[in-house]
């Protein structure tokens, strides 16, 4: 049995081969996996919101624009290089079909947009994206291979 480490909601973690990083029950949240194929170091963030609101950020892992730089920094401290990183992401669903689609209700979509925007700016290629829809997802990053597993309740699982 391989060692698995759980990443909670609004949290992030870095691990080296052969550890597996897991985050469960993503709805509008997005799980972002970064991987350095050479160093075999992976990072996983469970992002809740697109942008931090002002300078008082109590928990940077919660927001796309503060979680991703922090994740890269922590991976580099473990020996990864930003120019070798690739990204895979899943989540960003809209779980409830509510009548008035205000901005807060598109939170999943806005999370995904903010993440893609940041990755594009930082030249980190996105190798897989399993986002949107109205279903929950659990993801696992295998730091030995970089494989990204996406599990659902009613729609089976996919490997990227």
């Amino acid at each position: 049995m391989r060692k698995k480490r759980r990443v909670g909601m609004a949290d992030l973690a870095v691990a080296g081969s052969p550890e597996i990083l897991v985050t469960i029950g993503l709805g509008s949240c997005v799980g972002v996996a970064l991987y350095d194929n050479r160093a075999r170091i992976g990072g996983l963030a469970h992002i809740m919101l697109p942008k931090a609101n002002g300078p008082l950020v109590s928990n940077p892992a919660k927001f796309a624009d503060t979680a991703l730089p922090l994740l890269v920094k922590k991976m580099e401290q473990r020996g990864a290089l930003q120019r070798r990183l690739t990204a895979k992401l899943a989540g960003g669903a809209q779980m409830f079909k509510l009548e008035r689609a205000t901005d807060t209700m598109r939170i999943g979509e806005r999370n995904t947009e903010a993440i893609i925007e940041w990755l594009t700016e930082e030249n980190i290629p996105v190798l897989a994206q399993d986002t949107g829809g109205s279903w929950g997802r659990t993801v696992e990053l295998d730091t030995e291979t970089g494989e990204f597993l996406v599990r659902t309740i009613a729609r089976g699982e996919k490997r990227y």
Binding site: M9, A10, D11, L26, W135
Partner: protein, 204 residues
């Protein structure tokens, strides 16, 4: 936990939960023609990651019914049935032998939304008479999926300003303890201020 709070703040919110849930339990009993037991409400500030643990873990399959509440004390109500409990509930509602349902189709989803509607409506009615505030529940929506995924949309609304969320939680039980559900009243940013002000409790 909010450090500025005294026991009185928690006691007042427990009373809010008690009064609301008492009326909701009566309505549910009439709907199901069953005796309903209700647990003492639990009032707690919880870190986001611990909310799903209340429902048996983030990957536990549940049916969640969400209602936004427009009010001077704007809130969100989330009624959660662990999936097996939702099936039992549908069996009772449609007078089928217990254990027959094994899926939630469109009709079942509407029925569960209506249960959420009835619970929320009766809860808010007594909350209105207790506080003098107006509470108007919006149209309910259902999601059947992992507990974490059902919850995170509700939590995300609080994420911008806090790392914890205040839950006023009540557990209902029917058929002995075979059917249970969780009822969460989650006050939004300024709602707590309005509730405490209405009840004459200092709140800074």
């Amino acid at each position: 936990m909010n450090p500025k709070w005294s026991d009185m703040h928690y006691d007042v919110l427990k009373e809010v939960g008690n009064i609301g849930a008492g009326n909701a339990a009566t309505a549910l009993a009439a709907l199901l023609n069953q005796q309903i037991k209700m647990q003492v409400p639990n009032v707690a500030w919880l870190p986001f990651d611990e909310v799903a643990d209340r429902l048996g873990g983030a990957e536990e399959p549940v049916a969640g019914i969400l209602l936004n509440v427009e009010s001077d004390a704007p809130s969100t109500i989330l009624v959660v049935f662990p999936l097996q409990q939702a099936y039992f509930l549908l069996d009772i509602l449609f007078s089928r032998p217990l254990g027959q349902s094994d899926t939630i189709d469109e009709v079942g989803a509407s029925a569960l939304e209506e249960v959420g509607n009835i619970l929320a409506g009766s809860y808010l009615t007594s909350l209105s008479s207790f506080t003098g505030l107006t509470f108007v529940p919006m149209v309910p929506a259902i999601a059947v999926d992992m507990a974490g995924a059902v919850l995170d949309y509700v939590l995300a609304e609080f994420g911008q300003i806090a790392d914890q969320v205040l839950l006023i939680e009540t557990e209902f039980q029917a058929l002995g303890e075979d059917i249970y559900s969780y009822f969460f009243l989650v006050p939004k940013a300024d709602a707590l201020k309005a509730i405490f002000a209405a009840l004459g409790v200092d709140y800074t």
